[in-house]
Each structure stands twice: as C-alpha cells, then as structure tokens.
C-alpha cells in the first residue's frame, strides 16, 4: 500500500526533515508512526498523503508512482484512495455533521443525493447516526473527531491517514476514537496513525519510530 524508497525532504533554508527514509506498509496493516515533535513524522505523513513531494526518492501509494503524477491525478488519488483525519478536525463551522461528511465526497464525482446517503451511512458507522443535523459547535471533541473520521471513510478509501487523531481529546474520547480506527482496520482499511504518544503507539500492531528525520530501530512492543 505504501512504499517509500530513499525519500529525502529538504525544506528551503537547508533543514532536512527526512533523510533517506525507506519504509513499506502492506495493505490492511495498522501502523503507528511515532516520534517526538520535530522528528519529521508530520512531513512523512504529508508525503504519504501526497500533499507534499519529496526532494528526492521514490513514493508509491496504492500502486501509483507519485513522482510522475500531475495535480489532477494526485487530487484524484486523494479523493478516491486516501482519507485524512486531522488533530484539529477541520470541520466547517456552519454546516451540519451530515453536510461536513457529504462534503468529503464532493470531489469524487458522486452525485448529491448519493453523497448524502453515503454520509449518513458513514456517520451511522462511527456511532453518530443520531447526530446528523448537529453543527460542530453542538458536538463534543470526541464527537467532532468521529465526524471527521466519518468524512475520511465515507468514500471507502483503502488508506486512512490520521495525524494526532487523539491530540485534542481527553483520554476517554481518545480511547473511543482509537477503538473506531481499530474497527476500520479490522474491516480491511490500511490505517496509519501519527502520534507522539508512546502509550497509543504501544496499543497498535506495528510501530515505526522516527527521530531526526530517520527511521529509528523498531521498538519492542
């Protein structure tokens, strides 16, 4: 599902965020990318999510070589094959939960009525079937993140990238969100969770530790 070969990312100004990183994540795996802040793990996520291009090296996502793709093809890849979950949720404030989730399908070419139907199904799946018409400010932090997860998985992408999904949540809500991600993994989705929290990482089947832009030795479970 994810194949990185000798990936280097140098920011303008000379900071090397990633240094010859190679890693491979198979389809259906659930992986934690763990590291302290500044370790380069967010850059890694952006490159896996095709939001950023490496300075050098080779990136293959879902069988597609990212380096050779233009903006349209990359956008298509993100729309159909990759779901994103962010620490800050990024929900549209004036829009209902259903509307937010349906907007996640806006760029997939699915018709309006079908988008609403799939959005309702996705919200049902994350346990928010009773909150379709609530606006983000009427939801708790955990519920907001569930809406964001529903948005990410409404199109059934094979790859789900979660950037500090529990970073803004209390322990109980965070645990609920992790359970949800584990459920998605069990259903066949490849899940990559970025976190600085060793406890969370320890609870996932596989860990990739990042330090100073390099893959560190795998930690014992």
């Amino acid at each position: 599902m994810i194949e990185l070969t000798e990936v280097t990312k140098r920011h303008p100004g000379g900071v090397t965020a990633l240094d010859r990183v190679s890693l491979r994540v198979g389809a259906g795996e659930m992986v934690a990318i763990v590291g302290p802040s500044g370790s380069g793990k967010s850059t890694l996520l952006n490159i896996i999510g095709t939001l950023d291009r490496p300075t050098s090296g080779d990136v293959v996502i879902d069988g597609r070589r990212v380096g050779g793709l233009g903006d349209a093809a990359l956008s298509e890849l993100r729309a159909g094959r990759i779901g994103f979950v962010f620490q800050q949720f990024h929900l549209a404030p004036g829009t209902s939960a259903l509307g937010n989730v349906a907007d996640g399908l806006l760029y997939t070419g699915v018709r309006r009525a079908e988008r609403a139907r799939r959005a309702a199904a996705a919200l049902e799946r994350v346990g928010l079937g009773h909150r379709l018409d609530h606006r983000p400010h009427e939801l708790s932090g955990g519920e907001k993140q569930r809406v964001a997860i529903a948005r990410a998985v409404a199109g059934d992408p094979p790859l789900l990238l979660a950037d500090e999904p529990t970073g803004a949540l209390d322990t109980a809500s965070g645990a609920g969100v992790l359970d949800l991600l584990r459920g998605l993994h069990a259903a066949g989705t490849t899940v990559v969770v970025i976190t600085h929290d060793r406890e969370i990482a320890a609870a996932l089947p596989r860990r990739i530790a990042v330090r100073d832009g390099r893959i560190a030795a795998p930690e014992p479970a």
């Binding site: 999510g49 004036g94 309006r112």
Partner: protein, 395 residues
C-alpha cells in the same frame, strides 16, 4: 477519474463563504450595488426625461413654423409686407396661419401713475383671432379675442405679463393702460411652450390696435402650422412667400427645434454622470477584491482540507472565483433594482413616463460580472497556488 463539480455544487461551495459571513458579504456587495444603482439611475433618468420631452413635443407638435422680419442689407430692421399672412396661407401644406404685430413704442401699465420707463419688459401686440389654435396657447382664465371683442378696447395677457401687471383674474375691474388708452382684461393665457414671446405680451385685437393705437398692420411674427409631412418644404419656401421682394430679410424658424436642443444638451451631462457611476463601480470592485483577499487568508485551513479531500487546484480557483462572482452579482442585482426604483420614483414625481432601458440593466449586470471576475481572479489564483501542507498548518 475526478469529476467536475456539478454547477449546483460549484455554486453551493462558492456561496458557502458568503453564508458564513453575511454582514461582510452584504457590505462588499453594497459597494457594487451603489455603483450599479448610480449608473442605472443616470441612464434611466435621462431616458425618462427624454421620454417626457418627447411626449411634450408630440403634444405641442413639431409642425409650427414662424416667420419674422430680419434686417435689410444696411442692417436696419426690416418689415414683413402687409400681404405676408395671405401669401403664407396659399402655400401648399399650410393648415393654419396667424400673426401678431408688435406695437413699437407702446407700453402697458397697471395705472397711469407708473413712470413711463418701467415697462416691465412687457410688449403690446396686435393679435389675430386664430392665434391660440396656431400656437397651441391655452387660456388660464377668461376668453380669447373674437371678431367682436377684437374691435373693442379689450386685451388678453400672457402668463408673465399678467403676473407683472398684478392682474389676478380677468373681469370688468381688471384694466391695463396701453398707449394712453384703458383696455379691459378679458383673458389670461397659460405659458406657451412653443411661443414664449406671448408670455410677456399684452394682446389686443387687430382692428382695435389699428384704430386705437395706430398700428400700421405689419405682422412681426407669422405663425404657420403645416402638415407634418410638408414641414420641411413649407420651411424652405416660407421666407420667399412671406416677402417675395426680399426673401433674405425673413427669418424662418421652427420653435420645437429649441426643445430638441435642450434634449441634446442633457445627453452630454448624462455622459459625465455615467462616468461618476463607473468610478463608484470600480471602487466597489476594489472592495470585493479586498474582501476576497481577506477571505483567502482566513480560510487557508479550509483550502488545505479541500485539497486533502481531493480538490484540484482548478477547483479551488473556481470556488473563490465563484464566490467573487456571486458577491458582485448580488450587488449588481440589488443595484439594478435600486436604480430602477429611484428612476421610477423620480420620473413619476416629475410627471415623466418612467423608462429604464433594458440595455442599461443588461450592461450593468455584465459590468458587474466583469468586475467580479477581475476582483476574484488574483485571490482565487493565490488560493489555488497555496501548498496544501502550508494551508493545513495554518491555525
């Protein structure tokens, strides 16, 4: 395959920014609205005033021609021959002829106690009985001179003359002194649009002027109503007909031309006001551009999210361009309605038929869309060039 957004979705996405900040949208649309309202209003008012003038011209008729004596070769005042009226009546296409004759050196006064030099600019004229029908003059009060009263010391006053002489209403008590003789005022005219010289006139009957005031019988203005189709032909021969011996000493004019000139003068003024409206519109466009730049800055996270959800650069660009277009379209429609209302209100108040030319509305909306596109282009391109990672990192 990433499909294009359906038009309905594109408009919904473009309009989302306006819905979340309605006050800001309203204020920046207002700038456009004021510009469009000014332009539609200027065009509408000028069209309405023209329509009003046209209506007045149609009522007054454009077939009135006047013949007056000019000057002879030595520069002295010429006079029309005594046969001028009868000759004019024989011209083919002439329907009506009437005349007035100025009584040189005769002034009119309310009483004999007024110094002789205070003539108030009022002239005394001999008038033919057909004068009202030829000139379109109407009586405000009283009666016009007829075959009987025309021989007696009776007078009809022009509107201005009546006011200056202090004659409120005709009647046996209303008398004016002209050439040392008392004349009873039997009628007062309304202002005459096509013959304004009658407004300051004291008109007495042709026979009475001859017998009582020493009138020599020479007409000083011959009024001719021609058939509409024959106006130009009559105009070309009227001078030679009125004074065959010295056609160059006759000035022929068409009073409705003066009204038409008024219309042309209004047009130049309209151009100036239209320019002012365009400046207002431009300022409104700058307001929209400003709003859009701020909107893009504030919504970096949203832009990043949409990119992560699979929006192409072009789709982000289209979103903000749509927002700018909707914003200015909103202002344009509001402005067009406002301009039309102002036009209708002012025109009705002025007694003009309200006219808002469709091309002004269409042009206004087209200008709006053009301004919106120009104002939105730079912010939209900036939004689309924003790297997704940078956009997502924004607070």
């Amino acid at each position: 395959m990433t499909a294009r957004l359906a038009p309905r979705d594109a408009i919904a996405v473009g309009g989302a920014g306006l819905r979340t900040r309605p006050l800001r949208a309203f204020l920046s649309a207002l700038g456009i609205a004021i510009g469009i309202a000014a332009m539609v209003g200027v065009v509408g008012l000028s069209a309405s005033s023209r329509a009003g003038l046209d209506r007045e011209m149609a009522r007054l008729g454009t077939n009135l021609l006047t013949a007056q004596p000019g000057t002879d070769m030595t520069g002295a005042q010429a006079e029309l021959p005594l046969t001028a009226e009868a000759m004019a009546r024989r011209v083919d296409g002439v329907r009506e002829v009437a005349a007035i004759g100025h009584l040189d050196g005769v002034a009119a006064y309310r009483t004999g106690k007024i110094p002789k030099t205070d003539t108030n600019g009022i002239g005394v004229y001999a008038a033919r009985t057909g004068l009202p029908s030829a000139t379109g003059a109407r009586l405000a009060a009283g009666r016009w001179l007829d075959a009987a009263t025309g021989s007696y010391p009776a007078a009809v006053l022009g509107a201005t003359a009546a006011r200056r002489l202090g004659v409120a209403a005709p009647g046996p008590d209303a008398q004016v002194l002209a050439g040392g003789r008392w004349f009873t005022v039997i009628g007062v005219l309304e202002p005459v649009a096509l013959a304004p010289e009658l407004d300051t006139a004291v008109l007495v009957g042709w026979p009475a002027a001859t017998s009582a005031l020493g009138f020599d019988g020479h007409a000083t203005t011959v009024y001719t109503r021609a058939r509409d189709a024959a106006v130009e032909r009559v105009r070309s021969v009227l001078g030679a007909t009125a004074n065959p011996e010295a056609p160059d000493e006759v000035q022929v004019s068409r009073p409705s031309d003066a009204l038409a000139a008024k219309r042309a003068a209004g047009r130049a003024f309209t151009g100036l006001l239209l320019g002012l409206g365009a400046v207002a519109l431009l300022v409104g466009g700058v307001g929209v551009a400003n709003t859009m730049v701020i909107s893009v800055l504030e919504r970096r996270a949203e832009i990043g999210l949409r990119r992560a959800l699979g929006a192409r650069r072009g789709q982000v660009r289209a979103q903000f361009l749509t927002e700018a277009l909707l914003l200015s379209l909103l202002g344009g429609i509001g402005g067009a309605v406002l301009g039309a209302l102002v036009t209708a209100g002012y025109a009705l108040w002025q007694g003009w038929p309200p006219v808002v030319p469709p091309w002004a509305l269409a042009g206004g909306l087209a200008a709006t869309l053009l301004i919106g596109a120009l104002a939105g282009l730079y912010p939209a391109v900036r939004a689309s060039r924003l790297p997704p990672t940078e956009a997502l990192a924004a607070p």
